[in-house]
């Protein structure tokens, strides 16, 4: 081939690069491994990890361990889906259809008519929802409750700076719900959006949704609600309490935790031009073909995107998390309406069982009074132990305790965010309770 293109040495291939820019030495990297060496090397590294299938895990806080149907893995491990990228609607008909179906299935869950091809994660989805609201209203301020995950707030804040301002609304220290008086005091004609979550980062169900949306609409602001989609078999979809834009994370719908690599954000709205035209994401639509009764798929309103318009497009678009969208579609197809109701009910029952038993331990109590879903803040202040110490001792028992909130919310002292899902059996929960009881007792 060299000869065919008129060269005599491989080095000539890079003649276009000046010598002054060329690396004049071999890179300092470990020697190459063959496949077997690589497998042993990687397996030996991974063997140093302790994982949630062998450990009993109560960490959540944005990445949750749920039941994953085997069919989800089968589909997202298919060579075709793993290695496809950006084909056209013809040779990649299957990819377009799978993503359109994902949009359609999630649309039923959130009860909206438009859903995007998924974006990076909940935080990105929330950021974009806020920027969409900013463009729709022509305003600069977004209001978030103080109970939003600090990491998520950091992402939103970076994404919105300097185009928009983020302000926080206080929460009620007893119930964990939004402080409506504080909200009222901050609403104004500068407010583009009010954002809140159901359930929130701290697990709390915000049941004042209709009032919050009403207040937002009162100043012509957009109501944005972030949701954990696995709650939507039993919790009211936000559109019914006034949400204009819904966002959240798909990870609970069939994605392994993958050390945080399973996240995928979604955005949903009504099918109104003013919303649709503000999406930065690709939106796949169904179309007829030349053949009667046949379906095809294509990009809706492609001209919105930065692919088409560069900096004039809506925000930016690129590789996001399509495979997780397909997987979430598989998950929703498998669970169906009954499955989504059941899984939601099971989570509620199990998490309430855990709370009930935990509260019986001397020195252990619940931080908030309100209704909750899946997660809850456990207050360990009265045990005299730090969460760090408790978690260290739980790990010795093969248990990953809840997320330590002491750094993020120093005003609460030693609290931890526990996550209980459908994967926890009664005996798992009893084991946790017994372990915590034993730890708490030794200290008292």
């Amino acid at each position: 081939m060299l000869k065919e293109i008129g060269l005599t040495s491989m080095d000539q291939l890079h003649d276009a690069i000046p010598d002054s820019l060329k690396l004049d030495r071999r890179m300092n990297l470990p020697p190459a491994m063959n496949e077997y060496e690589l497998r042993r090397h990687i397996d030996s590294l991974l063997a140093k990890n302790k994982h949630g299938a062998d450990y009993l895990n109560f960490l959540g806080a944005g990445c949750w361990q749920h039941f994953i149907p085997a069919v989800c893995d089968e589909i997202n491990q298919r060579s075709e889906f793993v290695t496809a990228y950006a084909g056209e609607p013809y040779e990649d008909h299957g990819r377009f259809q799978a993503l359109f179906e994902y949009q359609s299935l999630l649309a039923e869950l959130v009860d909206m008519d438009v859903v995007n091809v998924p974006t990076f994660d909940w935080a990105q989805a929330a950021s974009t929802a806020i920027r969409m609201a900013g463009r729709i209203t022509g305003r600069k301020t977004a209001l978030l409750p103080r109970s939003v995950d600090p990491d998520k707030a950091a992402i939103i804040s970076n994404y919105c700076t300097p185009v928009m301002d983020i302000q926080f609304i206080e929460i009620d220290q007893v119930t964990g719900r939004m402080d409506l008086d504080d909200l009222r005091s901050k609403l104004s004609d500068d407010v583009a959006a009010v954002y809140f979550e159901n359930p929130g980062y701290l697990g709390i169900i915000e049941d004042q949704g209709a009032e919050i949306s009403g207040l937002a609409h009162g100043v012509n602001a957009v109501s944005i609600v972030g949701v954990d989609p696995i709650s939507l078999g039993v919790l009211e979809p936000p559109g019914r309490y006034g949400a204009d834009i819904i966002c959240g994370d798909l990870q609970p719908l069939g994605m392994h935790m993958n050390y945080g690599g399973g996240q995928a954000g979604f955005i949903a709205t009504r099918d109104e031009e003013k919303y649709v035209m503000e999406y930065p994401s690709r939106l796949f639509g169904i179309v007829p073909t030349e053949v009667e009764g046949e379906y095809g798929f294509g990009d809706v309103a492609y001209e919105r995107t930065s692919f088409a318009l560069r900096e004039k497009g809506k925000e930016s678009v690129g590789t996001q998390t399509a495979l997780w969208g397909i997987t979430a579609g598989v998950y929703l197809s498998l669970l169906g309406p009954a499955g989504m109701q059941e899984v939601g009910s099971t989570i509620i029952q199990k998490s309430h069982y855990a709370v009930k038993k935990l509260s019986d331990i001397p020195g252990v109590s619940l931080r908030f009074e309100g209704a909750f879903f899946k997660e809850f803040v456990v207050d360990f202040n009265d045990t005299g132990l730090s969460v760090a110490e408790i978690n260290r001792r739980l790990m010795e028992e093969g248990i990953f305790g809840g997320k330590d909130l002491s750094a993020g919310y120093p005003e609460w002292g030693q609290c931890a965010l526990y996550c209980v899902t459908e994967i926890h059996t009664q005996s798992d929960l009893d084991r946790l309770v017994a372990a915590l009881r034993s730890i708490a007792c030794t200290s008292l």
Partner: protein, 508 residues
């Protein structure tokens, strides 16, 4: 397969999988779930999801997968700029390990030492490959990496008190649209440079563009044309002299590994797409990783936490300080892709990586040589060697036959192949962009070239065949007229039903 939309598989009462339920004793203890939900928040009607048995769900999605053309299945050189290369199967097997899949990102660092070591070692390797001083793997695509870089540019100038003044970012028209778009997201005014007549970024135009308002300069090199800007160091010097930050879009660094680096070219930051150059798969469009590297000076601005090695040989997560832009993505990025890229580098070593660059460039120049011989095809701008890809043009063919590049890409489907045209706007008329990478053999390239030759012949002899393609695809030609009409577009099945039902009723 003539596969229906999944909602059409609904049969009332069918179940795909039964999720874990509540033990009777637990239910007795806490009562029914409904009672635990505030009345206003109880969902009154179940979501209208279809009810389908597991066998049918599996069959449906398996069929859709067969209707998708992954790079495993074809000679995937037609998505130029995307670096579709062979995905080593071993890497896909390695990540399917519960010690990877079942890790929670907030596990105590002592329980994830293996994972952190992989992050740390990949950081070291990336530093060596780029000459940068620190990497974050948090950005989960090239676009997010660009956003993070634009954010760092802003934080940097803010920290120096010049944030208000420096409000422009300069890019080039042959760079990825996300360079401009992400800078605009961060509130910057965009200055786009057009190339000189040979297709090089224009140094004079850059000199005219820089000023005390210049916040940064972002560029790929080579750009989409495959032309390497040999004066890049002068470009970065000009920007630095004006007080701007230079950041390098190395999404695709496939032709440069072990040959030349961001550091020597004078860049302050760069990113690599692990799902392009580093052989992580594209997965229909993510999740992915844009590995972001910066110089020591910019390290405080990186999103955190970063993985570090403490004095006892223990890997730790180190939070960033107040200068940091904070975070751009939840947790630590797409860890399984970090593992894939690490495995790929370990399987090749320094010489293997340089081989990649050389073979990719060789393949590209062979392809370039051959395609220029096809009637109606050309490659605008300077004649001669390109690096890893080329943006070609069917302008002549289109002028002479009326067949467009879109027609040809549809016709390619009939050969089990495809290509992507180019980013908008079509500066190169009737464009197509090919990037063969190191993964494809001469025979593969010849197969692809023959298909293009065949279609070129058709265009000149029986253009209707090309214009009416595809002929043997899964589906026939789409009627795309509804896609830009708010009244007609249907982004979900429920919207489709609402919008077509009245029409269906009218027909009755």
């Amino acid at each position: 397969w003539d596969e229906p939309v999944i909602f059409e598989l609904h049969r009332s009462g069918e179940r795909g999988v039964i999720p874990p339920g509540t033990e009777a004793a637990v239910a007795t203890e806490v009562g029914c779930a409904e009672d635990r939900i505030p009345a206003s928040m109880r969902r009154s009607t179940a979501p209208a999801l279809p009810e389908i048995g597991q066998a049918k769900v599996l069959r449906h999605y398996l069929r859709l997968s067969q209707e998708t053309l992954g790079s495993d299945l074809n000679v995937e050189i037609g998505q130029g700029t995307c670096t579709m290369k062979y995905i080593p199967r071993i890497n896909e097997m390695l990540i399917r390990n519960p010690r990877m899949t079942e890790l929670h990102p907030f596990q105590d660092v002592d329980s994830v030492q293996g994972m952190l070591q992989i992050f740390y070692n990949l950081d070291l390797a990336m530093r060596e490959i780029s000459g940068m001083d620190a990497f974050s793997f948090q950005p989960s695509s090239g676009t997010q990496a660009l956003l993070a870089m634009a954010s760092i540019v802003r934080a940097y100038h803010d920290a120096r008190g010049e944030g208000g003044q420096r409000d422009e970012i300069i890019t080039t028209i042959f760079s990825h649209p996300s360079q401009a778009a992400t800078a605009a997201v961060k509130g910057y005014k965009i200055i786009t440079l057009h190339p000189d007549e040979d297709g090089f970024p224009d140094l004079e135009k850059l000199k005219n563009a820089v000023s005390e308002r210049t916040a940064g300069f972002v560029v790929a090199n080579p750009e989409d044309t495959g032309i390497y800007n040999h004066r890049i160091r002068e470009f970065t010097d000009v920007v630095h002299a004006a007080g701007g930050i230079c950041y390098y879009d190395q999404a695709n660094a496939n032709g440069l590994l072990g040959i030349t680096r961001a550091k020597e070219a004078g860049f302050d930051m760069c990113f690599f797409n692990l799902h392009k150059t580093f052989a992580a798969p594209h997965m229909c469009g993510g999740p992915a990783t844009g590995a972001l590297g910066v110089t020591e000076e910019l390290k405080p601005f990186l999103p955190g936490p970063l993985v570090d090695l403490d004095a006892n040989g223990r890997y730790v997560l180190k939070e960033q300080g107040a200068s940091s832009i904070g975070k751009v993505r939840s947790f630590h990025g797409v860890a399984q892709t970090v593992l894939r890229a690490y495995a790929w580098i370990m399987s090749l070593g320094a010489e293997g990586l340089k081989d990649v660059a050389q073979i990719a460039v060789l393949n590209n120049n062979y392809l370039y040589h051959k395609i220029l011989q096809i009637r109606g095809a050309s490659a605008p701008y300077i004649k001669g060697r390109r690096l890893e890809q080329v943006r070609y043009s069917w302008k002549q063919l289109s002028d002479e036959t009326g067949v467009t590049t879109e027609d040809i890409t549809r016709r390619m489907c009939d050969f089990g192949l495809h290509y992507w045209t180019s980013h908008h706007p079509y500066i190169v008329p009737q464009p197509f962009t090919l990037e063969p990478t190191e993964s494809y053999s001469k025979e593969d390239l010849d197969e692809y070239i023959q298909a293009l030759e065949h279609i070129s012949n058709e265009a000149y002899t029986q253009p209707e065949i090309v214009k009416s393609a595809p002929h043997s695809s899964t589906v026939h030609r789409n009627d795309e007229s509804s896609l830009d009409d708010p009244k007609q577009w249907c982004i979900t099945w429920r919207a489709y039903l609402k919008k077509t039902e009245p029409k269906l009723q009218e027909q009755k």
